[in-house]
Subunit: 142 residues, 2 copies
DNA sequence: TTATATAAAGACGTTTTTGTCTTTTAATAA
DNA sequence: TTATTAAAAGACAAAAACGTCTTTATATAA
């Protein structure tokens, strides 16, 4: 479904949302250890999320990654679009150029409504909302 | 959504369903040209589908790929399981080991019902049913 | 039987994804 | 100012996905 990049990224953002009370900062290493994901790889993902304005960072001593109010107000779908690409929810399931409701591919009406349903949910839910009421263990691997 | 392997494979199977009236046989080259997909790559996919019992083949002169009655009666999901792997509709969206309704990951209730919905549809539709009433141009790339 | 057509098998190469490591830049504390 | 801490940048490498080509096995037609 989602790439590893995207799965690690979503979990890292939620880690920051859940643990970042009081302007705390977290290094990639800290997050990677908690989530049990490759640390250097996660560092790159965090960098990409930072460039996309989905997480904030501070360099130097006492620095690290965190979520600003702006970050928390972003819709969840933006994490996915940043890490999977803007086309992730677009295009034909079978990869056909001119597939549409008017000229549907064989799987169009089975798959597209479901994809659009997920897209709608993720567009209308902020990172803050997704993290609300979440138990920290829900992003851990065991 | 689906890998190229899977997308090419689904289209190739439907090509055979739509064009195979009267026990006709088709070479990978013929199918690849019609679908505008890489021919050697498609040949491998057809081989894999053949091993999985989703398409039939005959060697030698006059041979080629085709769908038997048994092939046509297979559920559509089997194409996907063969080409994407048996785990494709299983497991956590975020890749967590112990994610379930009882211990859900943050996206569980958003994504799993949709995935299960698609799975159910594909389990309960045969290749013949999917190809019924389909216009041959619906699997072409333009 | 021989030539031909075709799937099957397998070697090889490219691109993308995933993962690791080192060096550089910048901020803070002492 | 200097040492330390941490993100940023970028080189490198392994694995998987994608794609190409050649050789071999096999069935059919002539």
């Amino acid at each position: 479904m989602f790439s590893k990049t995207c799965r690690y990224g979503i979990r890292a953002v939620l880690f920051l949302a859940l643990n970042g009370k009081g302007a705390k900062r977290f290094s990639p290493d800290t997050i990677a250890e908690a989530l049990e994901v490759p640390r250097y790889f996660l560092a790159k993902i965090l960098l990409q999320l930072s460039r996309g304005g989905l997480v904030s960072s501070a360099k130097g001593r006492g620095g690290g990654f965190y979520l600003s109010e702006e970050n928390l107000a972003r819709p969840v779908i933006d994490i996915i679009l940043e890490l999977e690409g803007k086309e992730f929810f677009k295009g034909c399931v079978l990869g056909l150029k001119r597939c549409s409701s008017a000229k549907p591919c064989p799987m169009h009406f089975q798959a597209i409504p479901l994809r659009d349903g997920l897209k709608f949910q993720l567009e209308n839910q902020t990172i803050r909302e997704l993290s609300n009421g979440l138990n920290p263990i829900q992003i851990l691997n065991d």
